[in-house]
Symmetry: C2
Subunit: 296 residues, 2 copies
């Protein structure tokens, strides 16, 4: 399997689903729907959707059948970036090589566009024409998983801790907990929900959840390393910001070298976790390996 | 029926449900959960929950059985206030006689607490111990109604228009459209979802939806009138702000007297709408009449 082609084909499917499902810019107020689409189509890699689709495949499902979940995940992820970039938060001007939402549309519209993406992400699976694709006793638990992952004890907890611990002394445990919440929760939910919606049994869902938990931390470590040694042109944003802001990262606590080792160990553990699932995990292994070596 | 006692007993039920269901302040990060509870327990009148419960009664349901919906409505409503009060939006320092969330917890935590209340509100009906209380073919459409009412074409559309039209020339049609979205959508959803969850048929749900649409505009008109002639001590906030900011209100477009007339006409139409539902609408009529005469 050629990983680049594979990810590109997944991205194409997801981008089409997003374009089909999100309200068009002709809906009033146009500025709000423009802002939502601006951030959604700013060049995301669609990693969470790719993981959800690979997870569905791992339990014998068809990737295209869980596209509404892919849309939900990407809307929730994008909302978290839009709000994270706000002046009151990380105050970032660039994301994926483009001005951030609040630079283009102003702070008020950026906040509201984030709110709207979150609302759409949590609501899309209950749309009548989507809900009728699934067994409701599978769909409702998926909505539950998504809202917990995006909620005050996981994703938002991570965002709050990320801000609260800026410039503070931190332990590796605190860094791990921030990562697990800020990034791990939604990555884990991608895998868990992909498998649940595709009819995976509780053992399979459990295995994929543990894989997601480990992979989420790998993803965030790689993100932090790219902020140290990445190419700003490839990343589409400035680097070195974590250091300037005193962000809680493993690199700051244990050094870059030890952080890379940790990332490799976590990747190996993650890949071992899904071995019992057999041969259908090939795409998951490929995406899993990519997370820790990606350059953007 | 003594309306004050009736509303107080409803409020007590809803406040207990909110306290039971929202994550406690002992959950990390404590500052986030404190901020969520601070805004939720800042003295709201719980009008939307009262309407949802009265709507459930109107179709033969038991009010206590839809308390999780009441929690959802109040969390979504409160999130919208927290974000609306932000410096980038209406920049309000006081709400219900208390400093607004961003004054107490800072802007970043206020944004994230709003996000968390929205996420909780849209997720609470899918909690395993809540979902098992209902038929899933009723529950999923209710989640759908809530997310549409809170979404980019309704509540958030209204917020955007409210900001965009500040200080601009507006027609009565534009004012009506802002009110219908900003306030009407969630009031309508309170009635529609209360009836749906309690097993109302599509005709009943349709009638209650039209009642809610009309009542939502009455609610917002009364809000705007209170900003002109209300008692700041009773309201717990400054008055006269709409005028200072050039907000799009009926009072500005057609004058106070004509606005009061419109409100009375709309209230009468709303109450006529629910006549076909028979005797079980007594609580709904009482709350409906209260909306247009309330002093806070």
């Amino acid at each position: 399997m050629n990983l680049e082609q594979y990810l590109a084909s997944r991205r194409e499917l997801v981008d089409k689903a997003l374009d089909d499902m999100l309200p068009g810019e002709d809906n009033e107020p146009a500025i709000l729907h423009k802002a939502m689409r601006y951030s959604i189509f700013a060049g995301g890699k669609r990693i969470r959707p790719a993981l959800a689709m690979a997870s569905a495949e791992a339990v014998g499902g068809k990737p295209a059948e869980i596209l509404p979940l892919a849309v939900a995940l990407e809307c929730i992820h994008t909302y978290s970036l839009v709000h994270d970039d706000l002046p009151a938060m990380d105050n970032d001007d660039l994301r994926r090589g483009k001005p951030t939402a609040h630079k283009v549309f102003g702070e008020a519209v950026a906040i509201l566009a984030g709110d709207a993406l979150l609302t759409f992400g949590l609501g899309v699976l209950s749309l009548p024409n989507v809900a009728r694709m699934y067994r409701l006793d599978r769909l409702v638990p998926v909505i539950h998983e998504l809202s917990v992952a995006a909620g005050s004890t996981r994703l938002i907890a991570g965002q709050v801790m990320d801000i609260v611990f800026e410039g503070k002394e931190v332990t590796p445990e605190i860094v791990g907990s921030i990562m697990a919440n800020k990034t791990g929760a939604l990555i884990r939910a991608s895998l868990v929900c992909g498998a649940m919606l595709a009819g995976g049994d509780s053992e399979e869902v459990g295995i994929l959840g543990r894989f997601g938990e480990l992979l989420g931390t790998v993803f965030q470590i790689r993100d932090d390393l790219l902020d140290i040694e990445g190419d700003p042109a490839k990343l589409g944003k400035a680097v070195g910001k974590d250091n300037t802001r005193g962000k809680a990262t493993f690199a700051r606590v244990v050094g870059t070298e030890k952080t890379i080792e940790m990332m490799q160990t976590l990747t190996t553990s993650a890949l071992e976790t899904i071995e019992p699932l057999g041969k259908r995990v090939e795409p998951l292994i490929a995406v899993g390996k990519y997370i820790g070596i990606r350059t953007s």
